[in-house]
């Protein structure tokens, strides 16, 4: 059937286009990080080359890059961790209790994200300066929590709502306290959603550039800030930029892979018929 094979061809071409747009830049970044400067600047581009680790040696010799990765890790781990710690009990309350102002609170969490980050950059800068928090890990962690916490609350609330109410009732009858119900029933069963929100949060704080640029100077520059700092000379060290990029992407990828094990669907299967 010609129409069917034509359909397949279009399907294949579409996939190829998506693949090229999504995967090729990553491939180019990683492969470029193993090239020498002359291979990098060659025109037409070289596809086969002798790989070199010189760029990575350069990157890790640069204390600034190493510090930046450490700073990024500290900020991402704490902002994500604290958001999960604060967000999951809030989500439990939103999912299972009725209280005054519940829907307003819910809307407030969503509406937080309506505001463009740049609008708040200046007020937050002034606030941080007056509090003496500029160029500290704390200020970035606090700012990032305001972004990540709503994500955690949305996703976890939705996840908690999908847990059958009978499980909570059964636990109550068995003598479980509210905290035990949250800790022993909701948290383990909500893990897939919590993992997703943690991944989003981690990626957000790892990649965030605007506030990191505005609120840090030298001591706590994060990886994205340092990556941009290479782009200011007369000669662009492409190899080093690409190697830094690869180093920056790596931790997020590893984190996402580790956490995604918990994203198994159908975890609640078998609870109720």
């Amino acid at each position: 059937m010609p129409s069917r094979s034509a359909g397949r061809l279009l399907h294949g071409l579409g996939l190829l286009a998506v693949f090229a747009v999504t995967v090729f830049p990553t491939y180019w970044m990683v492969s470029s990080s193993f090239k020498t400067q002359s291979d990098l600047l060659a025109s037409p581009p070289v596809w086969l080359f002798t790989p070199t680790l010189a760029n990575y040696a350069d990157v890790f010799a640069d204390q600034k890059v190493v510090n930046a990765v450490v700073n990024s890790l500290i900020v991402a781990v704490f902002s994500t961790g604290l958001s999960v710690l604060l967000g999951t009990p809030a989500a439990f309350a939103l999912a299972r209790y009725d209280f005054r102002g519940k829907s307003d609170l819910w809307f407030w969490f969503i509406s937080n994200r309506f505001v463009s980050p740049i609008v708040l950059a200046l007020p937050i800068y002034i606030l941080a300066r007056n509090l003496g928090l500029l160029d500290t890990h704390l200020v970035l962690i606090l700012v990032y929590i305001t972004f990540i916490l709503p994500i955690v609350i949305w996703i976890a609330t939705d996840q908690f709502r999908s847990i059958p109410k009978e499980l909570e009732e059964a636990a109550r009858l068995e003598g479980a306290s509210q905290f035990a119900i949250f800790w022993r029933i909701y948290l383990p069963l909500g893990l897939p959603g919590i993992a997703v929100s943690a991944i989003f949060g981690f990626i957000f704080s790892w990649n965030e550039l605007l506030y990191a640029l505005v609120l840090t100077r030298r001591d706590v520059q994060t990886a994205p800030v340092v990556a941009t700092s290479f782009m200011s000379g007369y000669e662009l060290p492409w190899g080093k930029i690409m190697a830094t990029g690869t180093v920056i992407v790596l931790p997020v990828t590893i984190f996402a892979l580790l956490v995604s094990r918990h994203m198994v669907r159908g975890l609640t299967m078998g609870a109720t018929k």
Partner: protein, 361 residues
């Protein structure tokens, strides 16, 4: 004083009344079944005993103590849910041990109790499995296991068998009856299935629209239903109802006429309904299993509609001259063709009579 007592229990959701003044008492060790059509409030009533639902009016007493405002956990009741409500991330062992762990029972004692429950329910090989690795019947067993380890004062079952297939349901029914006999505890069981109610109950509570229609032993409800609702609900196949006229009445009995009856029917009175006026409308109730093709002291003329063979017996549906449907169950295979006329006989002593409001006469 009764072991479980519900006094003038009411439940309202805003302006809507779900339970309207229910009084029920159960003795220690009794098996009480709440039965009724969906929406009659039987599950709500059970949940109020458990404390999962707030009571809008009236009081709940368990073992002499008023528990109306008591936390569910402190009422010492266990509940088996229709959906089982097993914790999916825990093994069978952890599911059963959950309540004991919450009560901070020592580890060795928990192990002993779990082993005991597993023995009673014959599920020792399943202890390390997860709920999703179990069949419906096995999950049900775990849910029961979780209920019995805590040695509650009261067992509550909320339609526990309705998710099972017919064969397994019959099997679990027997098992629940055995469990009740072995443990000797008070059980309250909710179902919409009158067969479960008849076979399991020491006493049945028939509910409709949030009020108790009748309370009694299964045989009493079958023999002396208080009204047409109970009469129609208890017994399978359902009782036949024929609208007739009262011809005469005295202290011992009444005489009823119906176009399908060969001769007016003389029936003894069970109920204590008020004055009976000749000419008043009455409802004659006849159970399908009490009708026969041959014999009987009274006869009704019918036109055959449909015959269903059940293997060992046949269910025949027919119509009277007045268009009322009458079903009867007869032994053997007696297939009647549509439109065939026939007559059925019955013993007048087995006929039921109800007044125009449906109350037993």
């Amino acid at each position: 004083m009764s072991y479980l007592r519900l006094e003038r229990i009411e439940k309202r959701f805003g302006p809507v009344s779900i339970i309207r003044g229910v009084d029920i008492a159960a003795e220690k060790g009794e098996f009480v079944v709440f039965v009724g059509p969906s929406g009659c409030g039987k599950s709500t009533l059970l949940r109020m005993i458990a404390g999962l639902e707030e009571v809008s009016g009236g009081d709940v007493y368990i073992d002499g103590a008023r528990v109306t405002q008591t936390e569910p956990a402190k009422r010492q009741v266990s509940m088996v849910f229709q959906s089982y409500a097993l914790f999916p991330h825990m093994s069978v062992r952890e599911n059963i041990a959950f309540g004991l762990k919450m009560a901070k029972v020592p580890r060795a004692e928990i192990d002993r109790q779990v082993a005991e429950a597993a023995r009673i329910l014959q599920m020792e090989p399943l202890l390390d499995r997860r709920p999703r690795q179990l069949s419906g019947g096995q999950r049900q067993r775990v849910a029961i296991g979780r209920a019995i380890v805590r040695h509650p004062k009261l067992f509550l079952f909320d339609e526990p068998l309705s998710n099972l297939d017919a064969e397994l349901r019959a099997q679990m029914r027997v098992e629940i009856a055995r469990l009740h006999r072995e443990l000797g505890v008070t059980m309250v069981y909710v179902t919409h299935d009158q067969v479960e109610a008849m076979t399991l109950a020491d006493r049945i509570v028939v509910l409709r629209g949030g009020v108790v229609e009748q309370i009694g032993a299964p045989q009493d409800l079958y023999d002396r239903p208080a009204n047409t609702f109970v009469a129609g609900f208890i017994g399978s196949p359902k009782m036949n109802f024929l609208k007739g006229r009262l011809e005469s009445a005295d202290a011992a009995g009444v005489t009823v006429g119906h176009p399908a009856l060969a001769a007016p029917l003389r029936v003894a009175r069970h109920g204590t309904a008020a004055a009976l006026v000749p000419g008043a409308e009455v409802t004659l109730g006849l159970r399908p299993e009490h009708l026969a093709l041959e014999g009987g002291g009274a006869r009704i003329g019918l036109t055959a509609d449909l015959s269903e063979s059940l293997g060992g017996s046949t269910l025949i549906h027919g119509q009277t001259r007045t268009g009322e449907t009458v079903s009867l169950q007869v032994p053997g295979r007696r297939m009647l063709g549509k439109g065939e006329t026939f007559s059925v006989g019955f013993d007048p002593a087995q006929a039921y009579l109800f007044d125009a409001d449906g109350r037993a006469l």
